[in-house]
């Protein structure tokens, strides 16, 4: 039964009739059915000019290249401005704070336990 269902589904998707698979195939004069483009991405007509169909966004690399190649002497890890500065300061804060916390913890850990 599962096979019958699958066969029926396949016929619906490809637009074929029940006995089309038997040679010699369609009667001459009958126009063959083009399978409907079910899973094809949106197509463009040749007349709708050269560029690619946009798939998952446009190319922003040239704009970013302009941003990062500005001759302002800012190092690469800060070049995007505020967001970079915030992330850098957070990381550095954790680094310095963490290092101090670590030294204290190690000092405490090194104390002899008097039983």
């Amino acid at each position: 039964t599962l096979q019958l269902i699958q066969n029926a589904a396949a016929r619906v998707l490809t637009g074929t009739r029940t006995r089309d698979h038997i040679s010699p195939g369609l009667r001459p004069g009958v126009p063959s059915v083009r399978p409907p483009p079910v899973f094809v991405s949106p197509t463009k007509l040749a007349s709708e000019a050269g560029s690619q169909v946009e798939y998952l966004g446009a190319n922003r690399v040239p704009d970013l290249q302009k941003v990062f190649q500005r001759s302002d002497g800012v190092p690469v890890h800060l070049k995007r401005g505020l967001i970079d500065k915030l992330l850098y300061r957070t990381t550095m804060g954790l680094t310095v704070g963490g290092a101090l916390y670590c030294l204290v913890a190690l000092y405490i850990a090194a104390q002899p336990r008097n039983k």
Partner: protein
């Protein structure tokens, strides 16, 4: 930016090596503190710092290469050497665990019953989930090669699809392996069998996760048009790493799962 009369990359001063080193200090000391004083604060702090360092360091590498154009052919050659050397070091890392496995399994001691697998150990059937895992990783090797060719041929959509499929297969492997770990009739504490099994496969699983993350970053970069058909070394590095992970699994499968059962 100063104009240079050479093709090499003089990096901007960067804080990430320092933050990374401190992260390593915090993680290792934190591990010791966790063992002896039951507090995970230091270790977690170290891990957070490590993640921040990795994100910002590699973000900067992408900026330097893709947006600033510093990855000229000689620079790329250096990066290739670097990745090859790193993978080689990982090969030696795994070699150690294989050495340990063969040391114990080729001459099983009387304490184990003089046999391998040791007495009392119910091994996993190598022709069940482990074989599926082998198929999954081999298939992912095919899909990652498909992705590479798609990138080289400028086929954006195919590259995205095949790369996504590769990552999905990687996650599927991890999921299956996690299920196996949960259902296994033996644990890491079950003698030298348990130790060698879980340490070797465990580190491998960690590398699958790392490889999947690397490929996921490549997928994001591919979507954002970072790769060109001629220049996509980040992807190649990820693909090399992925093939390495696949090969390690094949050795694990043959040695521990199959021969060792």
């Amino acid at each position: 930016m100063a104009h240079q009369a050479h093709a090499y990359h003089m990096v901007d001063p960067s804080p990430w090596p320092l933050t990374g080193a401190i992260a390593a200090l915090l993680m290792t000391s934190g591990l010791a503190v966790w063992f002896h004083f039951h507090s995970t604060t230091l270790m977690i702090l170290g891990t957070i710092l490590l993640l921040l360092t990795m994100f910002q360091w590699w973000r900067d590498v992408v900026r330097e290469g893709t947006f600033q154009g510093h990855h000229t052919p000689p620079v790329q050659k250096g990066l290739r050497y670097g990745m090859i050397l790193f993978i080689t070091s990982e090969v030696f890392f795994f070699l150690g665990f294989f050495w340990a496995f063969y040391h114990s399994s080729l001459a099983p001691t009387p304490e184990l019953g003089g046999c391998w697998p040791p007495t009392g150990i119910t091994t996993l059937d190598p022709f069940e989930v482990p074989l599926l895992n082998t198929a999954v990783l081999l298939a992912s090797g095919v899909t990652v090669t498909w992705a590479h060719h798609s990138i080289m041929e400028g086929e954006r959509k195919q590259a995205i699809q095949s790369l996504t499929l590769t990552i999905a297969l990687g996650f599927y492997f991890t999921f299956l392996q996690a299920m196996e770990y949960y259902e296994a009739p033996f644990t890491i504490a079950d003698g030298v069998y348990g130790s060698t099994f879980f340490v070797a496969t465990g580190f491998h699983g960690l590398h699958v996760i790392i490889g999947s993350m690397f490929l996921a970053v490549c997928l994001l970069r591919q979507i954002h048009f970072h790769f060109t058909s001629e220049h996509h070394f980040g992807f190649e590095a990820a693909a090399w790493y992925w093939h390495f992970v696949d090969v390690v699994w094949l050795f694990l499968y043959i040695s521990i799962y199959w021969w060792g059962s």
